[in-house]
């Protein structure tokens, strides 16, 4: 059970939906816009959360093992098609953009819009056997879209999964237990699972994969913002870092005795 990757029985065709969110790829230091409402992204690239990268990989593996189809969905600006194409480059079949005007949506409205899109798609194509999300988004980290989506669709959900197995009519997911070790959940399909990084090691997109993704069509659903979708934000702040004047112990191997002196002072060696 739970060998590396999706260790699934063959013969159960599965339709999987993955939810991803476009976020700035911040690195060294975060700079905010003058109005303190957002990160200044002028010099940044964009990405999705590592948890979501793993959810994409898991979806592709499940369908490689069982047959079926994979769809990726995002609610975001026009440019979020980049993230959809990246998912298609590693093997996702289809993509849906819930297009905003670029303004941010709060978490409840995001979940509702995703649910509405799922209902619409399922009405024509049949149910998604499995809906995968990240455990938390990289930026807001609200830890709840998955649960709100599952509740609205009245489907069982396991959060924080680091192992997943799809069977005929059940999904088995395991996650880390608070006391160490693992908790194993078994839930009926159709189901929702939120994924944590570590569930698998995502593949890199191949050049042919990228080329194929570039040509694929993306379904667009236009969203209209209203007062209910506004975030509750007043302002963002960069937390004050404790100023530490670093003590340079030396350059190269000559510094070793001073390092060991510090290890001893901290009681880490006898």
């Amino acid at each position: 059970m739970f060998a590396a990757g999706a260790s699934n029985e063959a013969g159960v065709s599965v339709n999987v939906l993955v939810c991803v969110k476009r976020v700035p790829a911040t690195a060294g230091k975060i700079t905010l816009t003058a109005d303190e409402q957002a990160i200044d992204t002028r010099y940044l690239g964009f990405t999705i959360s590592p948890h979501e990268e793993c959810a994409v990989e898991e979806a592709v593996r499940i369908v490689e093992a069982h047959g079926g189809s994979t769809t990726v969905i995002t609610l975001g600006p026009e440019e979020a098609t980049d993230q959809l194409r990246e998912a298609m480059a590693v093997g996702i079949d289809r993509a849906i953009l819930l297009a905003t005007d670029g303004g941010e949506w709060n978490v409840m409205s995001t979940a509702s819009a995703i649910v509405e899109a799922i209902r619409a798609r399922e009405a024509t194509d049949g149910p998604f056997d499995l809906i995968l999300l990240g455990n938390e988004a990289a930026d807001t980290g609200d830890y709840q879209v998955g649960i709100r989506v599952a509740a609205a669709l009245d489907r069982p959900i396991v959060t924080g999964a680091k192992g997943l197995e799809v069977r005929d009519d059940t999904v088995t997911a395991r996650r880390e237990a608070p006391e160490g070790g693992w908790e194993v959940y078994q839930i009926p399909r159709p189901a929702v699972v939120t994924v944590r990084e570590g569930i698998n090691l995502p593949r890199y997109p191949s050049v042919p994969g990228r080329l194929r993704a570039r040509k694929k069509e993306i379904e667009r659903i236009e969203l209209a913002r209203d007062a209910a979708s506004e975030p509750a934000r007043i302002r963002l702040r960069v937390p004050v870092e404790r100023e530490s004047a670093v003590e340079i112990l030396g350059e190269g191997p000559e510094a070793a005795p001073r390092v060991v002196e510090i290890l001893r002072r901290l009681g880490l060696i006898a």
Partner: protein
Amino acid sequence: MILVIVEHEAGVPDRLSSEVLTLGRSLGEAIGHPLHAVAWGDAGAGLAGEGLAVAIGSSGVAVLHAIEEPRLTDYAPEAIGAALAQLIERDRPDAVIAGGAERGVEVLAHAAARLSLPLAANVTDVRPGEPWQITRQRWGGSLLEDARLDGPIRLLTVAAHAIEPIAAATTATQVERRPFVPVLTDRDLRVRIASRVPAEAGKISLAEARVVVGGGRGVGSADGFAQLDELAALLGGAVGVSRVVTSAGWRPHAQQVGQTGTRIAPDLYIACGISGAIQHMVGARSAKAILAINTDRDAPMVTRATYAVIGDLHVVLPAIIAVIRTER
């Protein structure tokens, strides 16, 4: 009323729950309303007995609502969320506060979804008023956001280590224990733990290690970790790595430190060949001291460290190991 969700082990609240109780108490005092607690757990787990009620007796709690349902013998997130939603609907507290760990946010999110209420996660500060305002963590804690928390019932989880837990100054008071019997359907109980796999015995857990030897891209290869493993073994510590290392498959994800990995809190973090990206640093923020070993004097890890050695880690580490061995 302020309602806090208390997670406990056999009647003893965990550390995060003590932080939650501390916030709940100060909020209750600020708005002049009583503090109530709610907990789940079966009869053997110290809830049916007076264990937990006594343990939280100095936290200012007036009433402990003990969720009682014979089918709730083990953790079942949806069912507990349903029970919480029913209690919240009946008593309509001013605010409900859970710990910002996996279970706390999970059960409260289930309740929030059922009640169609907003939920603010990883809050570090609450300011009651018109409207209530909160500060919460974004980007895993590398940013803070001041926000409104609207609605008649405010749901929130508290970021770990944001609040210093304090026991009440006065002596313990009697906590009234009230059973709360939720109405649960079989459907509410469909998500439950089917089995458990115990933790590997004898391994030093990364989260709890006193010293962590960290390696990043600068280590260069999977084989390059031999020196880090050796130093960690000498110091009785654990090896931690950056995401570049796990993505390359050099090391398992269980060793990743950071926003999407483990949060560490060692006495010393020896960070070798790690640049110090913000997503890595949020995982190392609770380290008491950092020793950076890096070829780049201007790397963020170096400028934020307590101590640094400038140089190639593959030269510096063997030298450190040699000194430790000769001095033994």
